[in-house]
């Protein structure tokens, strides 16, 4: 590792510096003005974002141990930091003033974890990156408010999170045992050369067990059934600004890690595992939406909505990259696009809850929301836009996201072995969208149709409302002009297609570097 190669890690380094600086500054007298700390955190994220954009799609750097920069890195950096700015807006003054420094530093650490997940080239780094995402979130839940519910939620989240981390570590251990290497790229090479063609079908039991355990561990992060049970309690317990973070940060990290692991098996899974993920996806969508119907607490409702959305994203994961003809059919593109949209719309919904208070607590139940439009028409409109987007209703970005995900299944190549089941799953997804509409509409209905119960008051400060408005506007703008985001998502997914073809090429040609370069040129030739 040379000094110059560190330059490629500038965004990560800025985040790390920022987090450490926040820890230190939080102890000084600056901590008496919490806005200063929030400003510092926001500035650091903005700096990292600028660095990301300056670097662009990173070139592959050979001498960064455990890390491999790819187009996916660029997408995840860009997305995480952009949504991160919104998260800082929401958490501007959430923590106790004395804890503000640690609180913001933890958010930055979690974001750093996502960035590292996207560029980890080694299972050990991958595991640590995932834990770097998880551990701060446990603490954030506890710090978010002085409330016994928050503490209880944090403890639950921590214990179950620890269990899932154990599963993940165990699974990655099996994968190491089966391949004899911790490097993801070498692992992929080993599967490709040693196992039958790019598929682990009926082959190595160790690989299968390892994959299943890792999938289980990550299922907790993305809140898929049956590892979803904690979600509603934790969401309800944590303060809304942290819940907004919980809906996005662990889910993004989990899906990125899943993509990385799917890469090592060349997106080829034996039918039994495909069916397993199929069932998990179908259950996740259905359980999420059906239980969402019964909630009167909006935070619990959005928790189940978060579960349901993981189901849709799992469908995209099953479709995988480049199985059909065109970008609408690339599951990874659809996944990357939709997770960005989901992060923002979900954040918007929680921003609406944390922007207003009745008495001394922020909004939580449908009853709290009733008649919001009467006194606060614009925030109510922004919330409604986010709700329509979660529903997948035009003219919002959520519609396009669902469109891409579902159309992926329909445009699979006719000879794809798993085509029919995926189409059925897409139909289940469409039905689930309709079920989900019922409870999202209750949010909209409560805002606009119900009589105001008592006056809602804005919370002091305007950052929450700013975040809400940005989220609502983004949903409309991304519907009208999804091109830029979609292009970025396509570039991010392109590394998947490449890794896949290159690793297959590896199987033929034992010179790994050489084949990577040839794949590189083919990528360059086809990139617009």
């Amino acid at each position: 590792m040379t000094f110059s190669s560190l330059g490629h890690l500038l965004p990560e380094l800025i985040l790390l510096t920022g987090a450490c600086a926040l820890l230190i500054v939080g102890l000084t007298r600056f901590a008496k003005t919490p806005s200063a700390l929030s400003l510092l955190a926001g500035g650091m994220i903005a700096g990292a974002l600028v660095a990301t954009l300056l670097i662009g799609i990173p070139a592959e750097v050979g001498d960064l141990p455990g890390l491999a920069l790819s187009p996916l890195t660029f997408y995840v950096r860009w997305l995480t930091l952009t949504v991160g700015l919104l998260l800082i807006l929401l958490n501007w003054r959430q923590a106790e003033p004395s804890e503000q420094g640690e609180y913001l530093a933890l958010i930055l650490f979690a974001m750093l974890g996502i960035l590292l997940t996207a560029s980890a080239s080694d299972v050990v780094v991958l595991f640590f990156a995932i834990e770097l995402v998880s551990v701060p979130t446990y603490i954030l839940v506890a710090l978010s408010r002085r409330d016994v519910r928050a503490s209880e939620a944090a403890v639950k989240y921590f214990f179950l999170g620890a269990l899932s981390a154990a599963l993940l570590a165990y699974g990655l251990g099996f994968l190491y045992g089966a391949s004899g290497t911790t490097s993801l790229a070498s692992m992929a090479g080993v599967w490709a050369s040693r196992l039958q063609p790019a598929s682990i079908a009926g082959a190595d039991m160790l690989v299968l067990i390892g994959f299943l355990l890792a999938f289980a561990g990550l299922s907790f992060k993305i809140a898929a059934v049956p590892f979803h049970a904690y979600v509603a309690d934790v969401y309800e317990g944590a303060a809304s600004p942290v819940t907004a973070l919980l809906g996005f940060v662990p889910k993004l990290a989990g899906f990125i890690a899943l993509i990385r692991i799917m890469e090592t098996v060349h997106w080829q899974l034996p039918a039994s595992v495909m069916w397993l993920i199929w069932i998990v996806a179908a259950l996740t969508m259905t359980v999420g939406n059906v239980l969402g119907l019964l909630q009167t607490n909006v935070k619990r409702m959005l928790a189940y909505s978060s579960i349901a959305h993981s189901g849709y994203l799992l469908l995209a994961l099953l479709v995988g990259p480049a199985l059909g003809a065109g970008p609408m059919s690339n599951g990874v593109t659809a996944l990357l696009f939709y997770i960005a949209v989901y992060g923002v719309m979900n954040l918007g919904a929680f921003a609406a809850l944390s922007s207003f208070q009745r008495g001394d607590r922020t909004l939580e139940t449908l009853d709290d929301l009733s008649g919001l439009a009467r006194s606060q028409p614009w925030p109510a409109l922004a919330l409604s836009v986010c709700a329509f987007s979660l529903m997948g209703f035009p003219p919002t970005a959520g519609f396009l996201g669902k469109l891409y995900i579902f159309s992926g299944a329909f445009s699979l190549a006719p000879d794809h072995a798993f085509r029919m089941p995926l189409i059925v799953l897409a139909v289940i997804g469409v039905i689930n969208s309709a079920i989900g509409a019922a409870y999202y509409l209750r949010i909209v209905g409560a805002c606009w149709m119900n009589r105001p119960r008592e006056e809602v008051a804005s919370v002091p400060g305007m950052t929450e409302r700013l975040g809400l408005n940005i989220a609502g506007l983004a949903m409309l703008v991304l519907f009208v002009a999804p091109g830029p985001l979609l292009t970025k998502a396509r570039i991010g997914a392109a590394s998947q297609a490449r890794s896949r073809s290159s690793s297959i090429a590896t199987a033929v040609d034992p010179g790994p570097r050489g084949s990577a370069t040839s794949a590189e040129t083919s990528l360059a030739a086809h990139e617009p």
Binding site: E152, V155, K156, F159, L160, L163, S164, L167, P197, A198, L208, I209, L212, L213, A216, V225, P226, F227, A229, A232, D233, P270, A271, V273, V290, L291, L294, P321, A322, L323, A325, G326, M328, S329, N330, L400, L403, S407, S411, D415, V480, A481, P482, G483, L486, R490, A494, A497, R500, S501, I504, A505, A507, V508, A519, S522, L523, H526, E527, P528
Partner: protein, 710 residues
């Protein structure tokens, strides 16, 4: 044509009214209040200015292409201008899929894996694109200019004694939003944008019909309009899907090009029956939006909306969207004689059918509504007999005089305190002298009295109809006589005789905000028709000729004289043959006949309603059956209610019951399972940690066992 400039103009045409609508909505209620109309006026005004600039550009381009002797109908006066890529789709199935070369050393079944190059190739997109050609230019100019006049008119109409009515800002926001939607419909360069604009104008229409939503009849009318349009739009949507399946693209340019080359997406020859299906599906949408049999029932009820809305949306612009769409899709329609016949027959029947209903109605706005349906019928008749240029010409003149008449009716209504029933007042020429004169001009144009605009455009349609389908032409002639009669029945009932007004009403002439736009429209109602007169070389038709050159005008069914008439002025003289001369004779004979009919009908109306009102009463008494049939609009609403509405209501109740008891029950059952499980493990905590952990462990164990023993 300067593409960059046209693109800029197109963007202004769309964003200016949208911006106006947003400003009205955002700032209207709190800041602008009584001044909200300015936002709307500026937005629509900017769009109108841009539309006129666009029209000038296109006129210039058409003129150059015609003088430079290019083959008329070339694509140089039609430009598809991409604005930006919107929704990425899969690669078009037509693009030959790259065959993955089998890699040596890999088993056969793996050959399909490396699709990466295909994935990375650029996708195809649904684009946001404009189609600028003479047809869209003329439509845009008409829509925006008339909309501007009507927005100005609404400033006074929507206030009483200089106090803004409740919902003032809402009204102007909707109006500007409508202009945006209509422009998007016309300017859009593919079927997707057409559909979006189509639905958006439907939404605006719904919102504006139900503007007085507190009034049950207005709310019901809005609902009816929306639902009836849904029936048509369902067919329209299916048509667009079929287009995408057949051609693999939604862009007008590509679709029409493929039809011209007679290939579908797979490269095979087109199935003619598929084109017929397509045309009929699209016609479903047109029949709904443009109020043709059997979907016309919503338009008379739509008069519940404020009068400027009736003038703008339900007379001058939105209802002509169907005519525009069929004119635009001529390439599809002319390939199907069946579809063309259906269009012509439906148009002709609608024209005469609604004209008879209008004979006995007493609500001034409803008479005008039935007259609108009837005039739209004329336009469809024209399309069906391959005279699309005449259809668009009638659309153009009709927009002026019908908007004028509705605004006049609004002026009467304003003066009468909201009463519009002709039995409640008479002799208004004394109280409303200006309105009276303006309505007279509009009525003369509608009745087709010679030298007014309606005369020229209607006569053209009759001429074409008589030469292609004589029976329909005669129906059209009868309709023309009926039109003149009911129009002047309305006029004489309102303005002739002694002054009589409803109780407690002090009639007052409208202010200049209302009179000025009406006067401008009146000028259009008189002179717009001269753009299509043979003496001045029929500039309107020459302008549109490139659009229809390869579709409607190229059809063999179209009479030989038509080619002459439609040819550019410079070429007309050389092409006149003896056959064409005979055609001209027939045309002038028809001119005299239809003009004479109109004047005779007006005289009849004068005798019956102006001089001797007892005649009408006698007729009513002697033929009560016929009168009742017409008065009740042939009982069509009742028949629909019995045949469709009630069964559907019953179905709805059944579904509601199923949802209430069966579906909800299932949901509760599903929810009960985890709850029951929760109760088993529930201690002092809300949701037991150990239970969650156990569920995860058991779940994992099941998963691993199942997968490993598969």
């Amino acid at each position: 044509m300067d593409i960059a400039f046209l693109k800029l103009l197109g963007i202004v045409i769309l964003t200016a009214p949208l911006g106006g609508a947003l400003v009205c909505g955002a700032l209207g209620p709190r800041r602008l209040k009584d001044r909200t109309h300015w936002a709307s006026i500026f937005g629509v005004g900017a769009a109108a200015a841009a539309a006129l600039a666009l029209l000038t550009q296109v006129v210039g381009a058409v003129r150059t292409s015609q003088t430079s002797g290019h083959e008329a109908g070339g694509s140089h006066v039609s430009a598809t201008i991409p604005v930006y890529d919107w929704i990425a789709t899969g690669a078009r199935p037509s693009a030959s899929p790259p065959v993955a070369a089998p890699i040596k050393g890999l088993p056969r079944e793996d050959a399909r894996l490396p699709h990466a190059p295909m994935e990375l190739s650029s996708p195809s997109w649904f684009r946001v694109e404009f189609l600028v050609d003479p047809l869209s230019a003329i439509m845009l100019a008409t829509v925006t200019c008339i909309a501007l006049l009507i927005v100005i008119y609404s400033r006074d109409y929507m206030r009483h004694h200089d106090h803004a009515e409740r919902g003032y800002e809402r009204f102007f926001a909707y109006l500007a939003l409508f202009v945006f939607s209509m422009c998007a419909l016309v300017l859009g360069g593919n079927f997707l944008l057409l559909y979006l604009g189509w639905e958006a104008v439907g939404l605006c229409s719904y919102l504006l019909i139900g503007f007085y939503y507190g009034k049950p009849s207005a709310a019901a009318a809005a609902k009816k309009a929306f639902l009836v349009n849904r029936v048509g739009d369902f067919g329209f949507g299916l048509g667009i899907l079929l287009i995408y399946i057949t051609f693999g693209t939604l862009s007008y340019h590509d679709v029409f090009d493929m039809i011209a080359r007679n290939v579908d997406v797979t490269g095979a020859a087109l199935d003619p029956s598929k084109l017929t299906t397509l045309a009929l599906l699209l016609f479903c949408g047109a029949a709904g939006k443009s109020a043709q049999i059997p979907l016309y029932v919503w338009l008379p009820d739509a008069m519940e909306g404020p009068s400027p809305v009736s003038a703008l949306i339900h007379a001058a612009t939105m209802v002509t969207a169907g005519v525009y769409m069929i004119a635009r899709c001529g390439a599809i329609f002319v390939h199907s004689e069946t579809a063309m016949l259906v269009v012509a027959v439906i148009g002709g029947c609608t024209a005469i059918f609604s004209a008879t209903i209008a004979l006995v109605q007493t609500d001034m706005k409803r008479i005008l509504a039935y007259s609108t349906i009837s005039q739209l019928g004329y336009m469809f008749l024209a399309l069906g007999v391959y005279a699309a240029d005449s259809a668009v010409f009638h659309l153009f003149t009709h927009a002026f005089f019908k908007a004028l008449l509705f605004l006049g009716a609004g002026s009467v209504m304003h003066a009468m305190g909201g009463v519009i029933d002709l039995r409640q007042f008479s002799g208004l020429r004394h109280a409303l002298p200006k309105t009276c004169k303006l309505i007279l001009i509009g009525s003369l144009a509608l009745a087709g009295v010679p030298l007014f605009s309606g005369f020229f455009s209607k006569d053209e349609i009759l001429h074409h109809a008589l030469s292609v389908h004589p029976a329909l032409g005669i129906m059209g002639l009868v309709t023309a006589a009926l039109t003149a009669f009911y129009t002047f029945r309305m006029f004489f009932m309102a303005f002739a005789g002694p002054l009589r007004v409803p109780e407690g009403v002090h009639p007052h002439e409208s202010g200049s905000w209302m009179i000025l736009p009406m006067s401008l429209l009146a000028i259009g109602a008189i002179f717009a028709g001269y753009l299509g007169v043979g003496f001045v070389g029929r500039p309107f038709h020459a302008f549109l000729e490139p659009v229809f050159h390869n579709t409607f005008l190229a059809s063999t069914l179209h009479g030989a004289h038509e080619v002459v008439a439609a040819a550019p002025a410079g070429h007309a003289g050389a092409a006149i043959s003896t056959g064409a001369a005979a055609g001209f004779m027939a045309e002038y004979g028809l001119l005299l006949a239809s003009g004479g009919l109109a004047i005779l009908s007006i005289l009849a109306a004068y005798v019956v309603y102006g001089k001797n009102p007892w005649i009408a009463a006698t007729v009513r008494a002697t033929a009560p059956r016929v009168y009742g049939l017409l008065w009740n609009k042939y009982y069509v609403d009742e028949a629909y209610d019995l045949a469709l509405v009630r069964p559907l209501r019953a179905l709805g109740r059944l579904c509601f019951w199923l949802d209430e008891y069966i579906v909800d029950g299932l949901v509760w059952l599903i929810a009960f399972v985890p709850q029951a499980m929760g109760y088993g493990a529930r201690g002092v905590q809300r949701g037991a940690l150990q239970g969650y952990g156990l569920a995860m462990g058991v779940g994992l164990a099941i998963v691993v066992t199942v997968v490993l023993t598969w």
